[in-house]
Symmetry: C2
Subunit: 195 residues, 2 copies
């Protein structure tokens, strides 16, 4: 086993064991993969250290190109927990316990209507301040109704993000993923390392 | 010490020791940080596993917004080796042996002149195929003439990237970094986690 992955798995286990309340991420036998930890209110805890997970892509749909009505006008910085990514690379499937974190990052103030600005490297788009945080978690038993993935919103109005978040209803996030990404629920075609 | 960092440092040391030729990354006492390994021809080896390093940002300067003359019209997926990033977080300075990798990733074929396309999430920019790879390495002794950073081009015409690359002249990359990023040489203002 990759020693980094092994250490991360050990770290995850240690962190989980240290929690006062019972971590139920282990319930489906996915403790070794999961970065998903829930509290007694069945809320997902904000994942720690996600900015050091495996980056998979940064889609960008600025307000300026969407009549001011973009669903997510910020940079999407999207990460997968490393141990789940390692499994995905071997198998092409996201294992139980996969956590995909999407941090929303404001664009730097633009010089043009489309939101772009001038920089030494040319006119373009550049990340400004952290703005929001969404997470999706693979857990077939827990989220059976939404094709095995749960969706969580940790706030879209700048840090600090919520420390814990309840799963969104099937209508809010999952419906768009189901309609447009299929039952796999992940928009793989937009992430080069997943294709 | 963070066990993940410690393991990565150990892994780096083991990898370096396994090379048939003498890794000279250790020469400046930076073996524990460095992901920079050189061959006998003084060429930097293509860093391994950089896509799993710490992602810092994805600037984007499309051709469509630069009269077809963008210096780097692709997504820049920029990563720092994790052990160097850990030091940066503690000290605010990049240590000897820091490696910053910039992978250039083509935009998916656009529907509009600016290079953007329509997607379920709106009109915007999405990463297509991997296209190129540039690296900068912090080594004050080796790259004294360019403010302590060496610049390397591993190819801009799609993978496979070069396996090894000689440092660019001061005029090619370093001059723009010096002129626009200052003596620190890193465009920190464009990367939220570095600010």
């Amino acid at each position: 086993m990759n020693p980094i992955v092994k250490t991360m798995m050990q770290s995850t286990a240690i962190a989980a064991a240290g929690l006062l309340w019972a971590g139920v991420a282990a319930a489906e036998g996915s403790a070794s993969i999961g970065s998903a930890i829930y509290n007694q209110q069945d809320e997902l805890l904000l994942p720690e250290g996600f900015r050091e997970w495996v980056f998979i892509g940064a889609p960008l749909t600025p307000h300026g190109l969407n009549n001011g009505k973009a669903g997510f006008p910020e940079y999407h910085h999207v990460y997968v927990n490393p141990d789940a990514f390692a499994v995905y690379q071997r198998t092409g499937e996201f294992p139980e316990g996969t956590v995909i974190a999407k941090e929303l990052v404001l664009l730097q103030k633009g010089d043009y209507k489309d939101g772009s600005k001038n920089a030494p490297s040319g006119r373009g788009f550049f990340a400004g301040e952290f703005q929001g945080m969404d997470v999706m978690v693979k857990d077939n038993a827990r989220f059976k109704a939404t094709n095995g993935w749960g969706f969580f919103n940790f706030g879209h109005n700048a840090p600090p993000y919520l420390k814990a978040s309840r799963a969104e209803s099937a209508e809010s996030c999952a419906s768009c993923h189901t309609a447009n990404a299929g039952k796999g629920m992940v928009f793989k075609s937009y992430y080069p390392v997943l294709r």
